[in-house]
């Protein structure tokens, strides 16, 4: 904020920001507080913003009712693999589209971008058939391979390409004069300078994979293979009705790493967005 704003304007702007924060903060607050309320208090009227009684057993039930640790591990390692794979594929593809002159490069890039326009719901059935034939249904392979070579990677490639285009060509020319070949220029010059863009790709990809719901529901059928978003739907009573407080406790635990990652990587996230010219 500019230093020359009057105190009254500053107060107004801060006030406005506080109001705008409500729709973002309230759901999180409601999730965390409701996770320790008895179910009857969650739907009490008037609503209880602060719990009247605290029931911490919801958190232990999360682990009792489902193999939650295994599901946590599933989500974590799949997200890590997808993130690493996407960073590798998108950085190389982005660099190639930005820097290597080959026939129809722009046209091919446009075709690749078209992948973003196809909703995942449209491709899920053919993908299921494909993975069924390959014997990979009810394994984690589809959840790893589809994002790495699908729309998330296309978006990441776009981000990386935009970044590499903005790198001065002279840096690479200087490296060529210094004796580096194309691959070394990529690994020693371009990639280290692309850290902010890579960081934003990593965060986007990790979040996407962590929150993925449709694909796990389609490809996985046994509880020990489930990922967290899918596991959340399994906290139901004998009649299939949701056990809200336990579900919200599991949701709180699910959201925790995402929040931690965002807090740690906030700077890179914003820098990455600035570098790519994209808005969040």
């Amino acid at each position: 904020m500019k230093a020359d704003l009057s105190p009254r304007t500053k107060m107004f702007l801060y006030g406005l920001m506080c109001v705008l924060l409500i729709p973002f903060v309230f759901p999180t607050w409601w999730m965390v507080t409701s996770s320790v309320k008895p179910i009857s208090d969650i739907f009490a009227f008037p609503p209880q913003l602060v719990p009247q009684t605290y029931d911490w057993t919801t958190y232990s039930k999360v682990f009792e009712l489902q193999p939650f640790v295994t599901q946590y591990w599933n989500s974590a390692y799949i997200a890590a693999l997808v993130t690493a794979g996407t960073m590798l594929v998108s950085s190389m593809a982005g660099y190639a589209f930005a820097r290597i002159r080959f026939p129809f490069a722009d046209a091919i890039f446009m075709v690749v971008l078209l992948g973003l326009l196809i909703p995942s719901e449209v491709t899920i059935v053919p993908l299921f058939q494909m993975f069924l034939k390959a014997g990979m249904v009810n394994t984690h392979w589809p959840l790893v391979l589809v994002p790495i070579f699908g729309a998330p990677s296309v978006f990441a490639t776009f981000v990386m390409r935009q970044f590499f285009i903005s790198l001065p060509v002279e840096l690479e020319e200087a490296a060529r004069v210094d004796g580096l070949g194309r691959f070394k220029i990529f690994t020693r010059i371009a990639l280290p300078l692309a850290k902010p863009a890579l960081a934003s790709v990593a965060i986007f990809t990790f979040l996407h994979s962590w929150n993925l719901y449709l694909e796990p529901v389609v490809f996985l059928s046994s509880a020990d293979k489930f990922t967290l978003p899918q596991a959340l739907t399994q906290y139901t009573d004998a009649y299939g009705g949701p056990m809200w407080n336990i579900q919200l406790a599991a949701a709180t635990l699910t959201a925790l790493p995402v929040l931690i990652i965002f807090i740690i990587a906030q700077k890179q996230f914003v820098e990455g967005l600035a570098h790519t010219g994209l808005k969040g």
């Binding site: 001065p168 002279e170 840096l171 020319e173 200087a174 490296a175 060529r176 004069v177 210094d178 004796g179 580096l180 070394k184 010059i189 280290p192 300078l193």
Partner: protein, 350 residues
């Protein structure tokens, strides 16, 4: 160190020819400046020598070796770029030693070479800094350090001073020149600034639209430009040009008859361009009449914009001119410094 030889070097982008067959011999240890207006092809030519641009036709030889199809790394050249092109994620020392490291030099050898170059360029206290922590002049020095540390056969400079302010440019000009005098490495230097060309070069190559207009020592180009383009490009303030006809009694420009040196009779009655540098006018009561338009006192000299007949020209005088605009003065052109160019094509006539 090595000589560089360009033979009928051509460059085309599709159907567009940008370099039209350049021949150039650069002797071992020579400092050659390629100069010309924007878009004349000087940087393209340099990049062809570096191997950063492919060569459409002709031959480039460095040290007698044909390098047309060699990668930049195999040409034994070092290049300093306009925007320095320092690696932002490496310290000054790493930037300078990077090429040696990549070529498999030992750590001790690299450190010794970096120290040697840093001592020469006054960079020793800055070796642990990153490029973003340096001033423009320091970055320029690091770029030069990166070039000299390898002891290449040829240095290539692509407008290295363009991003510096006027004062620093003068300082760095001197540093590059003294570095060359110390190392005696063959150097090709590209600039659009004719003052840089005049002050630094052993030999200047003036380019226009992908063609060499003239090659020569700085003062040769200044004193005897081969054509009107070179005459107008070299020198500041620029040479004055008056259109007219060569007659037996003098040069008949619009509204004035100017004195001429002896000229072969075959040019009599020929349409021509009369060229005279601003400092080759003298205030003289017996001279031709001129009307003052603007007086610019510079301290050591006075620049006067004046009308000779119908043509506006510039005169530079050691004397202080105090007359106001509209006043008539008399100026005498130095007959030994008159340049005559063909009206058609601009080639030198005298």
């Amino acid at each position: 160190m090595a000589e560089v030889k360009l033979s009928n070097v051509r460059k085309s982008y599709g159907a567009v020819d940008v370099i039209h067959g350049v021949d150039l011999d650069i002797a071992d240890g020579e400092f050659v400046v390629l100069v010309g207006p924007s878009g004349c092809g000087k940087s393209t030519l340099l990049r062809m020598v570096a191997g950063l641009e492919t060569i459409t036709g002709g031959e480039v030889r460095i040290g007698g070796r044909l390098v047309n199809d060699l990668d930049p790394k195999d040409r034994d050249i070092a290049m300093v770029f306009q925007n320095y092109a320092l690696y932002p994620h490496m310290t000054v020392a790493t930037n300078m030693g990077f090429s040696l490291e990549h070529r498999g030099g030992s750590k001790a050898d690299i450190a010794e070479r970096v120290k040697w170059a840093a001592d020469i360029l006054g960079l020793s206290p800055l070796l642990d800094r990153y490029p973003r922590q340096l001033s423009g002049g320091q970055r320029q020095r690091v770029a030069m350090g990166r070039a000299i540390v390898r002891d290449p056969q040829v240095f290539l400079f692509d407008e290295p001073l363009s991003n510096l302010d006027a004062k620093l440019r003068v300082v760095m000009r001197g540093e590059i020149k003294s570095l060359h005098q110390r190392l005696k490495t063959t150097t090709i230097y590209v600039t659009h600034d004719q003052v840089e060309a005049m002050t630094m070069a052993d030999k200047i190559v003036v380019l226009q639209a992908g063609r060499v207009e003239q090659i020569g020592a700085p003062l040769d180009l200044y004193d005897r430009p081969a054509n009107q383009f070179v005459a107008g490009f070299i020198g500041s303030p620029a040479m004055n040009f008056l259109n007219g006809t060569i007659t037996a009694t003098g040069f008949a420009a619009q509204g004035i008859l100017l004195p001429l040196p002896a000229i072969t009779p075959r040019h009599l009655d020929e349409k021509a361009v009369y060229g005279i540098r601003p400092e080759h006018f003298a205030l003289d009561g017996d001279g031709v009449e001129a009307e003052i338009v603007l007086v610019e006192p510079m301290g050591s000299e006075t620049q006067v914009r004046m009308k000779l007949g119908e043509t506006l020209v510039t005169g530079v005088f050691r004397e202080r001119v105090s007359q106001s605009p509209g006043t008539k003065i008399r100026v005498q052109p130095d007959l030994n410094a008159i340049h005559l160019f063909a009206a058609d094509g601009g080639q030198r006539l005298n």
